[in-house]
């Protein structure tokens, strides 16, 4: 029986979209994976020596903060780790016994990325402990307990996944605990530390996490087994819909029609919500660069572009893929391409303006910094907004709106054309800024960047006609691509 399951899993793994990419991309991905593996290993190994250098007892310090480690882990899981129940639907009516199906799905979660990553920290750390002459048996018992706790979180996540608001509760607990600790009101680590220390020093304490894990497995097993019905655990959650007319947008004519639709698109889909959430993070990108003497000044404009361009880069780069699931409708309706592109352009521009206003907190760093951001915003509106739409003509990855995955970049949407387009998007302003600073002073540099934006804006109509032509040329290929899995 299990062999059949493993066969299915293997097929789903090797035939997943990320494997269907080109060889060059596979090599690139391989290198990335290798890079991160080395990075994590270095962290696991390095943690011991860094803590030691800071005159702290490495093991005790780690034990002290493990409580936060596991709470954060649970929060991250609740946010991101999906429980793999959906793909058991077709198996229900086949000659598999229900317990077998449940055991298998639970076993599958054990191999999840969210569990494996912990090994990258705990394994090297344990090995360093052994190397440094800590008692081998204690180290083994301690790391066993750690993995038991990691898996406790894994099953807790399954049990808690369908409960609403729990995430908020956990985040609140974590924040309150951290706050109390920071203001020295109450220190949870003082209570957690003896337990984690005991896992190492007392030989039998490791029994607790292992027993808890066994109990949780049993509980999860029964929970899932009883829930293995299409109308129970296997339902797809349906939202209660509310009709919104957004009539105030009617005054903008066709543009308003599309904007209405785009606002609903963003509000009602997981993927777009995550994307917009990510774009807010861009607002804080400047904090790395401004008032940071280790960064060359010419990079300020780089930050300026990013601060206001979060939405442009995260949302804009997937136009028109956002409409991929109903692209055929768009192509047969009474819509001129230009109107469609125009509405997307306005959406990006409005978001850029809002970001620029929100970024006014950078005024705290001085007028010059904020001017950099404004210049970046002008460049974004005048030049980058067009480039992003142009890149969209070559982006042929359908977007599954209901998935939050891939919001931080899609491997398949990498292609030579979009890569080349990032050059003018990011490096041209840096070059202009450098040129101005070199000729006179940074102010001229900013003026150059802003001027490029204004010029782009002035030639908007010409540029739009060009982009429209390219979209028309790519139309059939795009429809074809979106049909693959829309």
């Amino acid at each position: 029986m299990f062999a059949k399951f493993i066969y299915l899993e293997w097929k789903s793994f090797t035939r997943s979209a990320s494997f269907a990419s080109s060889v060059a991309l596979k090599i690139l991905m391989g290198l990335l994976v290798l890079y991160f593996t080395v990075l994590f290993l270095a962290m696991g190994v390095g943690a011991f020596y860094i803590l030691k250098k800071m005159q702290l007892d490495p093991l005790m310090t780690v034990n002290k903060f493990l409580i936060y480690y596991f709470v954060l882990d649970l929060i991250v899981r609740l946010m991101l780790q999906a429980i793999p129940v959906m793909n058991i639907r077709p198996l229900l009516t086949m000659t598999f016994k229900r317990p077998t199906i449940v055991h298998f799905s639970l076993g599958k979660t054990a191999l999840s990325f969210f569990n494996v990553t912990h090994a990258f920290f705990f394994l090297p750390f344990s090995i360093v402990l052994l190397y440094e002459g800590y008692d081998p048996l204690s180290v083994i018992l301690w790391s066993t307990s750690m993995f038991a706790l990691v898996y406790c979180n894994n099953f807790l996540n399954i049990l808690l996944n369908n409960k609403d608001n729990l995430l908020a509760v956990f985040i609140a607990i974590a924040l309150i605990l951290a706050g109390c600790q920071y203001y020295k009101l109450f220190d949870i680590t003082n209570y957690a530390l003896p337990f984690f220390e005991a896992l190492f020093h007392t030989k039998w304490v490791f029994i607790f996490p292992v027993l808890v894990l066994a109990g949780l497995y049993y509980w999860t097993f029964n929970y899932l087994k009883g829930d293995l019905y299409l109308d129970a655990g296997l339902t797809i959650k349906k939202d209660i819909a509310k009709t919104e007319n957004l009539t105030w947008l009617n005054q903008f004519g066709t543009l308003g029609t599309f904007l209405k639709n785009d606002i609903k698109l963003i509000k009602r889909n997981k993927r777009s919500k995550t994307t917009v959430g990510a774009s807010i993070l861009f607002l804080f990108y400047g904090l790395i660069f401004f008032n940071n003497p280790t960064q060359p000044e010419v990079m300020h404009i780089f930050a300026g572009i990013f601060v206001s361009g979060g939405f442009l880069f995260t949302f804009g780069q997937f136009v028109p893929s956002w409409d991929s699931s109903y692209y055929q409708l768009m192509m047969t309706q009474n819509i001129p391409y230009r109107g469609y592109l125009n509405s997307k352009w306005w959406l990006v521009v409005i978001a850029t303006v809002i970001s620029t206003i929100l970024a006014s907190f950078y005024l705290y760093f001085g007028w010059k910094i904020y001017l950099t951001i404004v210049a970046g915003a002008i460049y974004n509106i005048g030049v980058n907004s067009h480039l992003v739409l142009l890149g969209g003509a070559f982006t042929k990855t359908p977007i599954d709106l209901s998935m939050s995955k891939g919001a931080f970049g899609d491997k398949k949407s990498f292609n030579v054309n979009t890569m080349l387009l990032t050059l003018p998007k990011l490096f041209l302003p840096v070059l202009l800024y450098w040129l101005g600073s070199y000729l006179m002073n940074p102010k001229l540099g900013l003026a150059f960047v802003a001027l490029a934006g204004v010029l782009g804006f002035m030639f908007r109509n010409v540029v739009f006609s060009m982009i429209e032509k390219i979209y028309k040329k790519e139309k059939y290929k795009t429809i074809e691509a979106y049909k693959q899995k829309a």
Binding site: K238, D239, N245, Y326, Y476
Partner: protein, 231 residues
């Protein structure tokens, strides 16, 4: 209204559609029948400029569809769920299409009221997004949306599939009414010979991309078709 000239569509040298000539006069209702892979959807996709012809062309009211977009204002179509916007409620979807076709909210509401029976109380004000509706109900939304804005050409791919018997009868009534309107040209494809014969003035049968039968509907049509598709 619609004129097809030497139209072929090939994928890697395999011809999936080959229609030398077909003319559909204004006001006619045409039923397209054929087995899976006969080329029905391919023909509609070509007619809507969703795929490119290998040779030949289609004129819709004198406008060549793959060179000009001017056929869009008077042509409405529903091929499959990819014509629906999943995150909208049915009402929002209707108003969206209405906006695109120059109909205001009141116009759309009048049309929806006419088809309340067809919706059977399962569509409007149900607090559901289109993506959460059943296949049949999604189809109802898609079909009625094609009627918004009094289009002159209406294209429906497999409209009878996935619908319950009552709704099929109501849909037949709607299509018949459209067929009786001398300004509206209707194109319907189906696997179901009987339904098609009942609502269409003319039946065209496709087989492996070739036009094999073309007849005006009469008493004997159904029999003839059944004989043709008999095993």
């Amino acid at each position: 209204m619609i004129q097809v000239n030497n139209l072929t569509k090939k994928y890697n040298d395999t011809a999936v559609l080959n229609i030398e000539s077909l003319e559909i006069p204004k006001g006619q209702s045409l039923g397209l029948v054929g087995n899976n892979g006969a080329g029905k959807t391919t023909f509609f996709s070509l007619l809507l400029d969703l795929i490119q012809p290998s040779t030949g062309n289609i004129l819709n009211n004198g406008i060549q569809v793959n060179t000009s977009e001017d056929w869009k204002p008077f042509t409405a179509s529903f091929l499959d769920e990819s014509f629906l916007i999943g995150y909208l409620t049915p009402e929002e979807y209707f108003y969206f299409i209405g906006d695109l076709r120059g109909q205001n909210k009141a116009d759309v509401d009048v049309l929806l009221a006419q088809h309340e029976e067809f919706f059977n109380g399962e569509i409007l004000k149900n607090k559901k997004y289109l993506r959460d509706l059943s296949k049949g109900n999604q189809k109802k939304v898609g079909i009625i949306a094609t009627l918004i804005g009094n289009p002159e050409v209406i294209i429906l791919d497999e409209p009878f599939a996935n619908l319950d018997p009552t709704t099929v009868n109501r849909l037949k009534k709607i299509i018949k009414e459209l067929a009786d309107n001398p300004n509206v040209t209707v194109l319907v494809s189906s696997h179901d010979l009987q339904h098609t014969v009942e609502v269409c003035d003319r039946i065209v049968a496709l087989n492996k991309g070739e036009l094999v039968k073309d007849m005006l509907t009469s008493k004997e049509t159904l029999q003839e078709l059944e004989l043709f598709f008999a095993v």
